[in-house]
């Protein structure tokens, strides 16, 4: 490979944190006009690499060359000025400002020293039309979907003369159409000679759009490959450092009635954002909720758990009719909910893993009966081991863990409270392949122990793998129910599409 067409090359990059070598002499080469996937499990060093590259962290060794010249970005602003733009999964633009203001923030077109609003809006509109977006650029950013916000972030980055564009998990919250559109844009940018670094957990997407692949594991470089020459199995085994164990397809309960007793029963149950529907979950059963983004999956979970209040129908838990006014009542009745937005509604960021794990149990016991510290440690140690949570210390703040491990801590939190019914809303979102498989195995194991599970997921293969019954939602109403041997990606997809 000639170094000449490399727009960005990293040589022997080292970054250490106390007790951890986050990057251990990593090399990485990005060519002009290519889409390069950066892959690895959680904790492999992808985020660290990106943060060093964009100046969030300072490196402890190695060199970064941009167009053959050594650079030392001190912060994201430096990196941007040098031509390295980053778009994160959580769009970090200013939601209350207009689209145009976001696009030109810090470099507004001026006239007589004042902002030339008309020119700014005109240019913003023209800029977005290049991305096939015809928007009202004077509307606040929040008026648009996450997908469009992401494209706006990309447009902003590219228009600031980006040579390198880093996309960190851009597709995590997009639906299939939006992903396809994003890929089109990526290919256009590639044709313009921009080098794109694409970080993702979705391996299919890697093959759909990437030219080359660099894999990291435990902070070290595993290798650099041409996408065309690397099979998906090989790719996964490189990432994991071992052959991927296919999760065993479980024997499904063919006849629903042969399962355990009815745990949760909804009768014409609905709320402001959900048409009344019927649904039942039995002990030891995994019921999947399928549907597109905004189809009502999350809304149903929130209604059942009394985050939102129901306006119609009945909810029966183990045969008894319940009306929950507060999440506390749902928790006390033996339910648990792993929310979709882990960062906002799930974790207690600055608090330790131990405290995060015991929180629900403590709340159930009441404030007066404090769990002795020794018991807390035992519980935390037990679940860290049982769920294989990767951490050196249970006293570490949870926000220092990777997404997959945070999710395991949240699962541990509920398991410790010994619930009867767990609602999992997108339990595997933003989680790497290894942890993904572990969480799915965990879900199976939990239901073998007699727990009832209601799992909302946008990943069909996942639902097919573990669900005993799949309820399909579309436009906030239940449109189909698939059970037993009928469950396949095909049948679910047909139901979602309304055929």
């Amino acid at each position: 490979m000639s170094q000449k067409d490399a727009v960005l090359s990293l040589r022997g990059l080292v970054k250490t944190f106390p007790g951890v070598k986050a990057l251990d002499h990593v090399d990485f080469t990005l060519r002009r006009g290519e889409i390069h996937a950066l892959l690895g499990e959680n904790g492999a060093g992808k985020s660290t690499l990106i943060k060093v590259l964009t100046g969030v962290y300072s490196r402890d060794g190695g060199e970064i060359n941009l167009n053959g010249e050594g650079i030392y970005p001190g912060n994201t602003g430096d990196a941007q000025a040098l031509g390295i733009s980053t778009v994160y999964q959580e769009v970090n633009l200013l939601p209350n400002l207009s689209v145009a203001q976001n696009l030109y923030l810090g470099r507004e077109p001026k006239r007589f020293g004042l902002i030339d609003w008309r020119r700014m809006n005109r240019e913003a509109r023209a800029l977005l039309l290049e991305y096939k977006l015809d928007l009202d650029v004077s509307a606040p950013l929040t008026d648009y979907s996450v997908a469009i916000q992401q494209l706006i972030a990309i447009a902003r980055g590219v228009s600031m003369s980006a040579k390198v564009l880093i996309l960190d998990e851009p597709t995590a919250s997009l639906d299939a159409d939006e992903v396809r559109f994003l890929f089109e844009i990526m290919r256009t940018l590639k044709a313009q000679g921009i080098g794109i670094v694409f970080v993702t957990h979705f391996l299919d997407q890697v093959y759909a759009v990437c030219d080359r692949i660099t894999i990291l594991r435990n902070g070290a470089l595993v290798g650099e490959y041409d996408a065309a020459g690397l099979t998906q199995d090989k790719l996964v085994s490189h990432m994991l450092g071992k052959e991927l164990q296919k999760t065993v397809q479980q024997e499904r309960l063919a006849d629903e009635d042969s399962a355990g007793e009815v745990l949760l029963q909804l009768e014409q149950f609905g709320g402001e954002h959900l048409q009344p529907l019927d649904l039942s979950v039995r002990t030891g059963q995994v019921v999947g909720l399928a549907g597109l983004l905004g189809s009502g999956r999350t809304e149903l979970c929130r209604l059942v758990f009394a985050v939102d209040s129901a306006s119609a129908g009945r909810l029966l838990l183990a045969g008894q009719s319940k009306t929950f006014k507060h999440t506390r009542q749902a928790v006390m009745a033996g339910m648990g909910l792993c929310p979709e937005d882990r960062k906002r509604d799930g974790i207690f960021g600055p608090m330790s893993i131990r405290e995060n794990i015991i929180m629900v149990l403590q709340n159930k016991r009441g404030w007066w009966r404090y769990i002795p510290l020794k018991k807390q440690r035992e519980l935390a140690e037990h679940y860290v081991q049982a769920l294989n949570i990767a951490t050196s210390d249970i006293e570490k703040p949870i926000n220092q863990l990777s997404g997959g491990n945070q999710q395991k801590v949240i699962l541990a939190r509920w398991l410790a409270s010994q619930p009867k019914l767990l609602l999992l809303d997108e339990p595997t979102r933003g989680i790497d392949v290894g942890a993904h498989a572990e969480i799915i195995q965990l879900i199976r194991k939990m239901c073998e122990q007699g727990l009832g599970l209601l799992v909302a997921s946008s990943e069909l293969d996942e639902l097919v793998e573990f669900a005993d019954k799949v309820v399909v939602l579309r436009e906030r109403r239940k449109v189909a129910q698939v059970t037993g041997a009928d469950i396949s990606q095909q049948t679910i997809m047909q139901a979602i599409a309304g055929q």
Binding site: P18, G19, S58, G74, F305, V307, H326, T327, R328, Q329, A330, V331, M332, L337, P339, R344, D345, G346, I347, F348, G349, P350, M351, E355, M359, V360, Q362, N363, R365, G366, W367, W368, R369, Y370, I371, E395, P397, R413
Partner: protein, 334 residues
């Protein structure tokens, strides 16, 4: 062992404590008699005791403020609540109530009511803490003036004055009250799960709600405790001067209390709290004042020196500052 190897908990403790020690050493250097203690009439006297005694009202406020800040809130009304509590006890005394328990209960009740109003507005109506408590900060002085009928009320009541000028076990009573309050609140927070819930609500009110913690009630509770602490501080201040001055009692002390908590390393975003460190913060503020007086610097420089010293302490605690220093050092080496 390097600084970066220390646990976050330990790192939080180092700077406030080191700051206090440095200030104390500085005092020993400026005025050798600073550490001298003598016992007169079974009571300790000396500059150190003076620091403790004078820091007591702010330390009391800081105990309550720590909890409020831990939930991500703030209470601007504590200075005014001091004035209200002082006015209530003074009025009770001059209207002929002689029972010390009743007088103190009256003051505390006023503080509790104030805290309840704050907590209710913040917890149950979702009003921003700074706005909700600003209301009582302004209105509270008005309430105190009404209670005092616009006068400065002076009184003689030896049992009540004992709160401000008395001593117990050789220590001034305000110091003893700080110790008792600290122990009670610490037990309440750390021997029950309340402290955990307070930190949980501060770390993420939304996550607390999702797991069924009654976040509204927790908020109400911390503002009530804060009101009680402020009332106690107000009565100590009134007892100290033998009178209630609605306009000046506790004036601007809410700012000192917030500063004490911040010097103690707490984040105004909420989350982790340490009452001990907030008290250390209150001691730092008071020690600094005494240091400036002892050093003989003209009084007009007092406020500036105080501000400069506090900036230094806050910088020493800031992780960003540490990063910048480390970066500079690396650049010099390279």
């Amino acid at each position: 062992m390097r600084y970066s190897d220390l646990s976050p908990e330990l790192r939080r403790f180092i700077w406030p404590v080191a700051g206090l020690l440095v200030l104390l050493l500085l005092n020993a250097f400026i005025a050798p008699e600073f550490f001298q203690l003598e016992i007169k009439d079974g009571r300790l006297y000396g500059s150190l005791i003076d620091v403790l005694n004078r820091a007591a009202p702010v330390a009391l406020l800081a105990i309550g403020m720590t909890l409020v800040i831990a939930t991500g809130g703030i209470d601007l009304s504590v200075g005014s609540v001091m004035a209200i509590a002082g006015a209530v006890s003074a009025t009770l005394i001059i209207s002929g109530v002689d029972n010390i328990a009743l007088i103190v209960a009256g003051g505390l009740l006023a503080g509790l009511a104030a805290g309840f109003v704050n907590g209710f507005l913040v917890g149950y109506f979702g009003i921003q803490p700074i706005v909700a408590t600003l209301i009582l900060m302004v209105a509270g002085r008005g309430v105190a003036q009404l209670i005092n009928s616009g006068q400065i009320v002076t009184f003689h009541h030896s049992a009540f004055e004992y709160l401000g000028v008395g001593s117990l076990f050789g220590l001034p009573l305000p110091v003893v009250l700080v110790i008792i309050t600290f122990v009670l609140v610490q037990l309440l927070m750390r021997r029950t799960a309340l402290g955990l819930f307070v930190e949980g609500v501060g770390a993420s009110a939304s996550a607390s709600h999702y797991i069924g913690i009654n976040d509204k009630l927790i908020k109400l509770l911390v503002y009530c405790i804060c009101g009680l602490c402020a009332a106690l501080a107000g009565m100590v201040a009134a007892a100290d001067i033998g009178g209630s001055d609605a306009n000046n009692a506790g004036l601007w002390l809410e700012l000192d209390a917030i500063l004490a908590v911040v010097i103690g390393g707490a984040s105004l975003m909420g989350g982790r709290f340490s009452i001990v460190l907030s008290i250390v913060g209150a001691l730092i503020i008071q020690t600094l004042t005494i240091t400036i007086i002892l050093s003989g610097v003209p009084p007009k420089f007092n406020l500036l020196i105080k501000a400069a010293a506090i900036i230094i302490i806050l910088l020493l605690q800031s992780p960003e500052f540490h990063r910048q220093v480390a970066r500079l050092r690396k650049r010099q080496v390279a």
